[in-house]
Amino acid sequence: MPIPVESSGCYMKIQFPNDIQMSGTSIYTYTGYEMMKPEQGSSPVLTEDDNLYTRFQGFATDNTQNYFIIKGCSGSGANLQMRVRVTGITSPSADKSTGLFKFDLYKDFNAGSYQLTN
């Protein structure tokens, strides 16, 4: 990361392009490494696990939103990477370059309203 990130918790929003549509029926998992590893519990984290959902991540199945919110920044140590592996993603329908991915990093997240702040 070009700027320092605190290890006291953060939320990463991964916005997928429209040509990699997420589906409410797919089972997604993510595995976090280094700065994005779960604070506690197992890895990978399954989205259908309510307990892990509430502790480790918010998750959007709304096709119009098309994004994950994953809790991270729990690692300690210098120069850690932010690395996330997400499964259950359907590749595009043609051999082409996809639209743009967007990654946002916030300090705070309200799981009830999906509001990301700071």
């Binding site: 592996r85 997400v86 916030y106």
Partner: protein, 185 residues
């Protein structure tokens, strides 16, 4: 002999501004911080020492908001500064003359902006006179810098993406196939 307790003025205000040609964004380490101080009537006209106590930059690491390399340096039109140095969480400025004014403005370079939008607390300041045994003249206790208005940082194209199938890196993947995707940065 009359003993006096140090005078306490209204807390200074402080604001940050970007280095020339850059935006005022979160996480930068080359910003400029401006302290605006009400000197009152007791500020030592014939020189003295200002000691800033400064907060840490982020996390639990002992990295402070002022920098030793490249070095933070401070300047003021109202103070004739002769010496300044950073020692952990204390920044000392010695001045030989104060030109009275309604406010003293001290600008310091290489300031480290907060890494997310927040109020940065933990600043304080003392002022001592220039006697051989220095007397504390003023205390400016805890005050804060409002960093909630700083802009977010935007980067383009700095993330590695890699498709996975059955845990094996694959590029390109077949179309319309359930796969994994790894991001790292």
């Amino acid at each position: 002999m009359i003993f006096r307790t140090p005078s306490t003025q209204a807390a200074p205000t402080c604001s940050v501004s970007p280095a020339t040609g850059t935006k005022n964004v979160l996480g930068t380490s080359n910003g400029k911080i401006r302290f605006t101080i009400e000197p009152g009537t007791h500020f030592p006209k014939y020189g003295g020492t200002i000691t800033f106590t400064i907060p840490t930059w982020y996390g639990a690491n002992l990295i402070y908001v002022f920098s030793s390399s490249p070095a933070t340096t401070c300047s003021s039109a109202q103070l004739d500064i002769v010496l300044q140095q950073l020692n952990d969480n204390q920044y000392t400025i010695r001045f030989k003359k104060y030109t009275p004014a309604s406010s003293i403005i001290i600008e310091c370079s290489n300031y480290r902006n907060p890494v997310y939008k927040k109020i940065v607390s933990g600043f304080s300041m003392t002022v001592e006179d220039n006697e051989s045994i220095q007397n504390k003249i003023m205390d400016y206790n805890d005050w804060s810098l409002d960093g909630t208005g700083l802009d977010q940082v935007e980067y383009a194209g700095s993330i590695t993406k890699q498709f996975y199938i059955n845990d094996v890196a694959k590029k390109p993947v077949p179309v319309q196939m359930i796969s994994g995707l790894e991001f790292s940065f």
